[in-house]
């Protein structure tokens, strides 16, 4: 096995923390709610760090898309392989990365998920199966086919999952990767996280079929359109697709409908959105939907919600303080891991 055998990142938190955090999300709906709140707080904090001039460079927030991230993390066991895309803060935290790992990466510190060498679009944590994050549109799709091929050849029951944006459905790698995965009936799940926009273009201004997931038919694959604001719907759909893949039923293409509350990246004020669109989506806020449901079901009460929010706030603040206090990544780090160390 190539994954997880490397020396791994040097971090000050416990190496088992991500897996523990992941197990919470898998096991407990309250943990899912809290994780969604944590993601929201982390995004807010990242914006602050940028405004204060402490963070820099490329970053993409996912406020509004938390149910997608947490739903995937809850439905996919940590032994499966997931490849994410550039807008991955939420997926990273949901899958188990610590806020320190995320904020450290954003700040270019040694405690970052990849030691500050990749930046926040490049989160990885192999202990929970987040094996790579791809920032070229759709490039992760054939890679996930390859991960699934490995499982198939090895006779493993591991499943490989690709998460990518609606913008990636028009790129060549999407086509080639899906065809290959379908042809070889690979144990893979392909997830379009349709937040309605590429950078500044609504998906229906660039994509010629509605819904985009219908493209699955071009490869003889099943597809499902899912309410990405409802974490339980996400878990259900992803879980079904993963189970199908695991039992030899081949790949599924899922489209999770969601919305990003902020611009594509920091400088984008999103002037291209039609009036009222943001408000309509905010009315279906994924945190509220799950919160209301858990309150209605008597699983939590309002005081619990407030306590969760407070814990998330504190956790994120502590993570930021910790990351800011951590050393800037050493210059020598850029020379490490360019090539694997030769066996001694």
């Amino acid at each position: 096995m190539a994954i997880g055998e490397g020396p791994g990142s040097v971090t000050t938190y416990d190496a088992k923390t991500p897996l523990r955090r992941r197990e919470e999300v898998i096991a407990d709906p309250r943990a899912r709610l809290e994780r969604m709140m944590e993601i929201r707080h982390a995004e807010q904090k990242i914006r602050e760090l940028h405004e204060e001039g402490l963070a820099w460079g490329s970053t993409h927030s996912c406020d509004g898309q938390e149910a997608v991230a947490v739903g995937i993390a809850a439905a996919v066991p940590p032994t499966d392989h997931v490849v994410g895309a550039h807008r991955g803060h939420g997926l990273g935290l949901a899958m188990g990365l610590t806020p320190e790992q995320l904020l450290g990466e954003t700040l270019g510190r040694s405690v970052g998920a990849v030691e500050g060498l990749g930046g926040s679009p490049h989160l990885v944590e192999t202990s929970v199966g987040l094996v790579f994050t791809v920032t070229l549109m759709g490039a992760g799709i054939p890679i996930v086919a390859g991960l699934a091929l490995a499982a198939q050849v090895q006779g493993s029951d591991r499943v490989a999952v690709a998460v990518f944006g609606d913008g990636a459905v028009n790129i060549g790698a999407f086509h080639e990767g899906l065809n290959l995965a379908a042809l070889w009936r690979l144990p893979a799940v392909f997830i379009i996280e349709n937040n309605h926009y590429g950078e500044f273009s609504r998906y229906d201004r660039t994509t010629t079929v509605e819904p985009p997931a219908r493209r699955a038919e071009a490869y003889g694959l099943p597809w499902t359109l899912v309410d990405g604001q409802d974490v339980d719907a996400v878990i259900e759909a992803v879980g079904t697709a993963v189970a199908t893949a695991r039992s030899g039923g081949g790949p599924t293409l899922l489209e999770l409908r969601t919305y990003r509350y902020f611009g594509h990246s920091r400088s984008d004020r999103a002037p291209y959105r039609p009036e009222g669109e943001l408000e309509a989506w905010r009315a279906r806020d994924p945190i509220r939907i799950l919160g209301d449901r858990l309150v209605a079901d008597g699983v939590v009460d309002e005081a619990d919600l407030a306590a969760m929010e407070e814990r998330c706030r504190e956790r994120v603040e502590a993570a930021a303080a910790h990351a800011l206090a951590a050393p800037v990544t050493d210059v020598t780090a850029m020379f490490r891991h360019v090539y694997p160390e030769a066996a001694p």
Binding site: W56, G57, S58, E105, G108, R109, G116, L117, G118, G119, P121, H122, T135, L136, M137, G138, A139, G167, A168, N170, I171, G172, A173, G198, E199, F200, S201, R205, T206, T207, Y272, V328, T329, V331, T332, A333, M334, F335, R336, H337, V338, Y339, E341
Partner: protein, 338 residues
Amino acid sequence: MARLRMNQAIGRALADAMDEDPTVVVFGEDVAAAGGVFKTSVGLLEAFGPDRVRDTPISEMAIVGAAVGAAMGGLRPVAEIMFADFFGVALDQVVTQGALVHYLTRGAVTVPMVVRSSVGAGRGFAATHSRTVEEWFLSAPGLKLVEVSGARTAYGLLRAAIREDGPVVVLEPRALYGSREEFEPGEDAVLALGRAEVRRPGDEATVVAVGQTVGIADRAIEELGASVELIDLLSLRPWDVDTVLESVARTGRLALVEEHPFTGGWGPDVASRVGQELFGDLAAPILRITAPDVPVPFARELEFRYLPSVEYVASQLRTWLDTGKLPAPWWADIREGV
């Protein structure tokens, strides 16, 4: 005179070209309604309409391929590839299709297309969005390749590229989009492809730089206080052998300031050619001041260490001028590539 940021100068060049020639069209990801992610085409959609200024899907192969076809069909398309790293999915359309059409049709079809793209580090875009990948194009017969170094050259070379009857790739250092320069746009500002520019005269040594290293080299020479000639190469294919040779023949020394890692890029071609032509006439070995052979790191301190800085370039030049020997690069004592 106008004082424009480089991205504004590019927008101005596009607008002037579209005014002059109705066959010029512009397309790419978010170049129309949003005016480009680097604001290099602001206002074009409003001025020239949705037929001539178009947003595309995220489909780099289709973008370049459509430019090839549109050029064959009689337009002068200017396509944008947002980050030059993305040519990794579309290189075929540039070098194996577009650049060969004229040859493979024995001159019956021309491909007057321009593909613009941003290059380089210094903006926190990390490993997959920060390379200058000039070597992907340098050896492509049928293609011309330029890299601009500021608002004035961006304007002048883009207008020249649009007038060219063959395909031209225009690389724009994205770290310079916000930098301003004063110049008079218009006919007189149009530059010639294939020509380098002497940016400062000198007689102790010649420095050749490209893109964002031109400004860095300029400040480094200033700091140094030596009489060093600075040449902005501008065109990478074909490059201006005559101007470089004339200068180096006079100064007896050549240093290159490259954003690219030591291996590959535009530098070795220039160094190797000058070494051949001026064999025996050089007073010192050719100095290549480059980035190290590693992926572009994200952390700000690392990214600016990766890039040749003014201080680093000055110190390298100083040692070399003083000793006539090659100084070790800053990373010499770090075990590389491990």
